[in-house]
Symmetry: C2
Subunit: 293 residues, 2 copies
Amino acid sequence: MRLTPQQLEQFDREGYLFFPSLFTPEETARLNAAVPELYARREAYNVREKGSDAVRTNFAAHLYSAPFARLARHPRMVGPVQDIFGESLYMHQFKINGKMAFEGDVWQWHQDYGTWKNDDLMPAPRAMNVAIFLDDVNEFNGPLMFIPGSHKKGVIDAKHDLTTTSYPLWTVDNDLIRQLVERAGGKNGGIVSPQGPAGSMILFHSCLVHASTSNLSPWNRVSVYLSLCAVSNHIRRFKRPEYIAHRDFAPIECLSDDCLLAESPVALPWKDGMPASALVCDETPIDAIKRAA
Amino acid sequence: MRLTPQQLEQFDREGYLFFPSLFTPEETARLNAAVPELYARREAYNVREKGSDAVRTNFAAHLYSAPFARLARHPRMVGPVQDIFGESLYMHQFKINGKMAFEGDVWQWHQDYGTWKNDDLMPAPRAMNVAIFLDDVNEFNGPLMFIPGSHKKGVIDAKHDLTTTSYPLWTVDNDLIRQLVERAGGKNGGIVSPQGPAGSMILFHSCLVHASTSNLSPWNRVSVYLSLCAVSNHIRRFKRPEYIAHRDFAPIECLSDDCLLAESPVALPWKDGMPASALVCDETPIDAIKRAA
């Protein structure tokens, strides 16, 4: 067990844990150095901002980029999540979000589990969000905002917002946001925003309501967002392409703690391109899948 | 003289001065109470957000709303500006900016004097921006951001951005923003954001580069933005309608310090509607005006 009882209690109460400077500047630099080339690729897995060439999110880099494949198996990241779920994990989603200087657009208030439930038929919110800062995060470059304790509300009815940004999202109603923020302390702690140097990590509950504003600053705010799902809780529907919602439920096997700097060998199954099967989407209605299950 | 030598020196160096809680909660409440009815009016002077009914900015309320007519003549606001310019002032522009909860959109990086010079032919940057908070301002509700010292750059070439938001703005190039922020201290003070309770006031130089992000929080961030221009520096062209850029250059005569609560009598020339002349715009080219002058 790597988390203290205090940390477990705090995670249960607030819905998140913040680990400033968990990765060293040298480790973060190895990851950062790989980003420009990944973002430059004209591939389906690079989603760009509305009306701009800036990358909003890159998917599945752990399948075709060695530094990110190592990060996906890093014990400092995987260990605490395994502690919380008490079970092996697989990689449900792997994103490098841009939130680029001047260009980074908002992410509306949402729960991630809303999408995983509605689109992917993930049975329960037994998946953890992990955010790893590749740039320093401050109040000016569009930091993540959380409503502490909002994960206790469970799964919230959501509206599929297809128009605000370039990426469709199941978003939470404004009146409910108002209530959740008020319940969490209103202007005294009702919204929090963990900020700190590159290399910091946040673990947050997949039902924790979060958002981020646009980045008008001259500082990129690139972050890796991984979603680690308990193996027994794997998704039941492949409606979204595989580069977004993964279909390989094999348990993650951690590398050594020095894997990023040691450049440990790692498999890169999509090194030469995505398989055609990764784009095949299952449009079976939810009811039919549930009946068959 | 109401400003100290330290304040004058700070204004010269940083380009702004912050006065937390300059107006009392009771005074601010009188102003706030008048806003919903003003924002509900279907008039040209209410500019709404792109794709939303939320008011982005209301113009010229000091000509048709008694509380705001008093604020426009308040000695606590007018006095310090007169100290800085050493001359009588007239009201060039009077706005109540919404930046409403969930709806408030960005204001891109810009100098206000850019607009006044390009559109209104104001001879010199001898006009002061005044921001008065009608709501508490925090890091989550889209606060004003300044680049300290950027006013020293003088008038910056700007690009007329007609598409990003619902309001056209002469905006500053990203590369120059990067340089100005770096020169001002980069991540250590290169951007600042004065935050505080409702009733606080900021004075800022009309060449100070500023911006604000979208407001995703459940808290409105309504502010009054007044632009007080030295009388001798009045605008030379009436290209923009009078409700945006005023054409009455009579010096402001201050009311008493208790005018907001005492509800001092005040003239409201547009109480029964805008005169037709306020919409007449002069399209004479700048060169012709300059030749005639």
